[in-house]
């Protein structure tokens, strides 16, 4: 970790909100992207990032300075996004469709020339997001870091703390589970020339 970042963490840990602001400004964007992949909604992703930073602020004492701040924050943000997703699912399951002014979902215009294709990819994204959200934490972290953040197996092993073989196995299991969700859709796509 860079000396400047370490200093910022130490100052934030001692209660320096301005130092924490530097962390917020540096990491809001990558954390938003991570949250969006779980939630698929821009405003909800911002909520998740806010939750994540609040959790991080409260937990700074527990941050291990040998670890990467980015990875630590990333995991907190993913968990915050998962919590929000579960909260949303629970509410939708319990209450059915949302009232008109509580529904912020964007819908695809039915007269759009590529509406069918958009609907297909929307379904694909929904399924993939749900599948990622349901993965065990190690597998979820491994696939998100490998597939979307481009981190190597060695780096992922550093995050998960179980050695490279464990990291590989976590990626393999995650890919297998995601394929099980995606393959049927891909077959439909091929069969119907969507």
């Amino acid at each position: 970790m860079e000396a400047a970042e370490l200093e910022r963490i130490r100052r934030a840990r001692s209660g320096d909100a301005e130092a924490f602001r530097g962390i917020v400004e540096a990491y809001s964007r990558p954390l938003w992207r991570a949250a969006f992949r779980i939630l698929g909604d821009a405003a909800a992703a911002e909520d998740a990032v806010q939750d994540a930073f609040l959790r991080a602020w409260r937990s700074l004492d527990r941050f291990d300075e040998r670890a990467e701040l980015s990875t630590w924050l990333y995991r907190i943000a993913i968990n915050a996004a998962i919590d929000l997703r579960r909260e949303r699912n629970r509410r939708e399951a319990a209450a059915g469709p949302l009232p008109e002014d509580f529904n912020g979902q964007v819908t695809v215009r039915s007269d759009a020339p590529d509406a069918l294709r958009q609907a297909f990819w929307r379904q694909m994204v929904d399924r993939a997001q749900a599948a990622i959200a349901e993965l065990p934490e190690a597998e979820r972290t491994a696939i998100l870091l490998r597939h979307f953040e481009g981190q190597s197996i060695a780096e992922i092993a550093g995050v998960l703390g179980g050695g490279e073989n464990s990291a590989k196995q976590a990626v393999f299991r995650a890919v297998r589970k995601l394929r099980a969700v995606l393959v049927p859709l891909m077959e439909v796509s091929r069969g119907e020339s969507v």
């Binding site: 924490f20 602001r21 821009a42 806010q50 949303r88 949302l98 979307f148 990626v171 995606l182 891909m186």
Partner: protein, 237 residues
């Protein structure tokens, strides 16, 4: 024919094979292996549709504006406005509520220095007044959400939550009345749901178990409702 596992193909896809040339040769020579790899590649490429793109401009500033009030007094402290600026901001916000009441035939602000502000606000076109009210309500919901989050995530200090809840409770009542008068039925309903939580926290004895408030927040899906309402109001304002 090579008998490669899917795991080997996954490593190859991610560029993690120590000797990729060997597998490349096998793929070139073995149509069945090439077909399996192509299927894997397409499925993993499809995950690319989860790419998030970019957030709305100003994310960092928005995020800090949402977080800063919760961090003002470390660790994880809520700051009740103590300086004249803070109270001025609060009274201005409340005055917006009073202004709505004024146009409805009821005035419930009394402080003389507030009339100047009220006159200024009254001079605004109706659309601008609506935007001011929506922005003030959104800010109030922002603050309410932060308190709910503190409690839901296991706040450590009842004293701080109590003081915070007292402040929010007073404002919440005014905003709820204003929203009712302005015909914002659903906003008023959410504010009405917040009041029992604020009342409970504001009057909590030393022995109070915050988990009771947490349960109430969870059972009522309050965080969800507050978030959606706040987001809708911010879009309008």
């Amino acid at each position: 024919m090579a008998n490669r596992s899917d795991d080997a193909l996954i490593l190859f896809y991610y560029g993690e094979r120590e000797s990729p040339e060997e597998l490349e040769r096998e793929l070139a020579a073995d149509p069945e292996l090439a077909r399996r790899y192509e299927a894997l590649r397409l499925e993993l490429t499809a995950l690319g549709h989860l790419e998030a793109g970019e957030p709305r401009p100003g994310l960092e500033a928005r995020m800090w504006a949402r977080l800063a009030p919760s961090l003002a007094r470390p660790p994880r402290r809520f700051s009740v406005p103590t300086g004249w600026l803070g109270w001025a901001a609060l009274s201005t916000a409340v005055l917006v509520v009073a202004l709505v009441g004024f146009f409805a035939g009821r005035v419930f602000h009394e402080a003389p220095d507030e009339h100047t502000v009220a006159d200024t606000l009254k001079a605004l076109p109706p659309a601008a007044r609506d935007r001011v009210l929506q922005a003030a309500l959104a800010d109030h919901l922002d603050s309410s959400q932060r308190l709910l989050l503190e409690v839901a995530n296991g706040a450590s200090s009842l004293d701080e939550e109590r003081a915070w809840a007292e402040t929010l409770l007073s404002a919440n009542r005014l905003y709820r009345r204003a929203a009712e008068r302005a015909g914002q039925r659903r906003v008023a309903a959410v504010l009405a749901e917040l009041e029992p939580i604020f009342t409970q926290l504001a009057n909590a004895p030393e022995t109070f178990d915050l988990r009771r408030s947490k349960e109430r927040i969870e059972n009522g899906d309050l965080l969800f409702k507050v978030r959606i309402t706040r987001n809708n109001l911010k879009e309008l304002s």
